[in-house]
Amino acid sequence: MSGDLTRLTAHAMADRLRDGEVTSRDLTEAHLDAAEAGNHALNAWLLIDREEALRQADAADDRLRRGEAAAHPLLGIPVALKDLISVRGGQCTAGSRILEGYRSPYDAHITERLRAVGAVILGKTNMDEFAMGSSNEHSAYGPVANPWDLETVPGGSSGGSAVAVAAYHAPLSIGTDTGGSIRQPAALTGIVGMKPTYGRVSRYGIVAFASSLDQIGPFARDVRDAAALLHAIAGRDERDSTSAPVPVPDELIDLPASDDDAAVGLKGARLGLPKEYFVAGMEPDARRRIEEAVAALERAGATVEEVSLPHTDYGLATYYIVAPAEASANLARYDGIRFGPQYGEGDALGNYLATRGRGFGAEVKRRIMLGTYALSAGYYDAFYVKAQKVRTLIKRDFDTLFEQGFDALVAPTSPSVAFRFGAKMADPVSMYLSDACTLPVNMAGLPGISIPCGLSEGMPVGLQLIGPAWSEPRLFALARGYEAITSGAEWRAREPAQLALTTDEAQPTPAERAAALAQR
């Protein structure tokens, strides 16, 4: 029974809840069991909170029994939260030792929203420390394995949230995306991941990495579920001055259920294919999957034109000035004085050095140093100011295309499929290149979605759709259209290849696999 329930989409679960076939407690227990069984081999979860989840499930069942009018599709549906989202009274490690033992005294805006619609929070998922990374190997709590190949990474930084959904521990999860941290792991684990327009979702209560780039978004196994989760968490929040007073469109919970209806949405769509996104290092077979997806879109009635985003090449360098600069300030508050562990017996400076020296991992320190340097007297104009100017040019590239009437751009999400543990740990720049196709979208503040488009040598490939600001309904409709026209594809029916191994307690943990690989 429990195996069956976890294979359902959230909207199918919602139907069964309303029909009284299952209860939220049934769904919640099934997913908690799956998460607990699979966490040894996958390490996707930093906290599985059975007691609290069941309490919320029972509350949801009460609401369902009362036949609450206008109940949200997420009422009673389990969801996983990346462990940088504040939940009152709960942990919020952001994947870092420096937040070990910290309990948030308040709920993030999106936590409040999820409680309001009656979603059931199962627990908190693993992540790269402070969302800095593209493989989840920078978590202070160990790497996460990809269920498609347990020796590979799930991508990052929201690797735990992606794997929780890919491995059927939860139908839905929340991630954050600063340079690709939702879309890239979604691509590498074969699921749907969406980064909304900057300002669509309140950042209040989300541990900040880079304030002008961070957005919160959904993971799901299909497009309709992802859209419904965005619908639940989006909207203006007075406590985040950068959250926009833009209404949340109800189309997000009204995408076509039938594939035929959904496919119609592609007819006449005008799509751009930015040539710069097919980067030199891109894997040829992954590139073929994108080309096949483009051909399928054209067959369904969309026009696809090659276009240019000429400043794409500067994206990575620009991002690695802006994001670390903001991070260097955002992470200054982790000083051991008010929360978290404090090390050192000396004066204030001694305590700072000891606490931050021991509390932060290598990648976080690297980025704090990068950002501090870029903001320093004598370097500020050459680095930070120039990067902001280039950022404007990158944004203008997109604006120009959308002003020409393109509905969306089609591109790869990642230049490669999931890579082996350790493959990029020795070379930070090669790791940073994992986000070459996603980070320009953050720089421009635009919405982007990654959807599965096939397998390359058995590993998932993601197709990215990028839209103009506030075009999420259209972007989801296009993604839903692509999902519909490929619904009969053989690869769609496949489950992660090594899923069966993940419930075997005899299997090594991801950390053990990574260590073994490093020995070879």
């Binding site: 919020c92 304030s211 508050r333």
Partner: protein
Amino acid sequence: MVSSAPSSPALERYEAVIGIEVHCQLKTASKMFCGCSNGYADAPNTHVCPVCLGLPGTLPVINRKAVELVLATGVAINAETPPATRWDRKNYFYPDLPKGYQISQYDLPLASNGRLTFETSGGEVTIRITRAHLEEDTAKLIHATDAAGRRVSLVDFNRSGAPLMEIVTEPDVRSAEQARRYAEELQALLRAIGASDADMERGQMRVEANVSLRPRGTEAFGTRVEVKNMNSFRSVERAIAFEIDRQADALDGGEELSQDTRGWNEDRGSTYVMRSKEDSHDYRYFPEPDLPPLRVDRDWLAAIRGQLAELPADRRARYQRDLGLSAYDAAVIVGEPAAASLFEEARSASTDVDAKALANWVTGAYLGLLKTDPDAASRVRPGELADLVRRVTAGELSGTNAKEVFAAHAGDGSSVASIVDARGLRQISDASALGAVIDEVIAANPKAVADHRAGKPALGFLVGQVMKATRGQANAAVVQEAVRTRLDAAPDAAPDGDTAT
């Protein structure tokens, strides 16, 4: 009270070049970026929330009132307001700074290029004001000894995130007296427009000065020293005067000055090195990404301008021009908000009260009481003071009795009318009402009458007898006139001699 300029012989050889930075706490109900009460004087850590504690995930939200108070200050100092402004992060580590950065304003302050004009002993002075900007205050560190005898530092976050305005002048100030007067005038202005209570002793207004000297007749700036910890207007003047003398002595001795930050020690009457130049920070300012730029709508600014209270300089001018007050009285009243509001309210309570007489009562009895017994001073009601002054002016109450009535009113708040009645202090100014008493006194004192008529000074004695008989209620001037008239009217009157006074 007013010192003479130059305040120091050093200023005969050197010209002092002084710039002043003032931080003042804005008078808002809540903090700069969160909804916590701005009541930082309460028990430690009682006005805190995730935002002002800098907890993970929190974000700032601008306090509109704080912005308005800075904009109002800008209008009051004739500054320019930018069409749009933004916030910047000033990065440094300190235990009183929970986020590790202070949200401030770097290159787009809410007000720039203003000025402030005021009187000094050497005449009127105008100081250019470079900028006024909005930022957040830090928490407060308290250094103590714990139960085990260890030195510990405690942090009170009540003040963390309180709205703070920084006002920076050009290096236009030339003497310690000008510095004090600038600070006094700025305080009066901030209080008048309701921007800040600006009490220096309570840290609501913190004055720092950059002091350097250059030989008279030269242009280049000398080595600048920053002076802090001046907790009263008096200490501003003393500290800067000290610093001018210290620097002059050093320069005279051929010594190289170092660009230090120095603190003022009130007890020793000297400054000491707090920090040397080597400790200077790189604050790595950059635009605050959590707050969008703020557009200053012209209508908004016009509304602020329209609601601006009368400025101290305008009010002083009006008091002198329209009410005939002396420059001194006008300055004293305007310089103390409590006095100014008592004066204004007393005048509106009783429109025909004599302004100069009222001003004397406010600057004399009231301000004296404010110093010695602020609680009693707070009980003085404008309407009652107006009534008191009106009675004195009308001759219904003697000056001596009026002081008694004022003290009684301030003592328990009872009305002037009830005090006068209860104590029988109503002055009798009607000569006819005094006729019988005067007749009795004349009849009972034939020797004095004879003395007076003989040209000897006896009138005062007779008047005194009448006052005694009326228990002081008689108007002495009226009595004197009436006694004299009565004696002079007698048929065997002697030629009128000099009368006693």
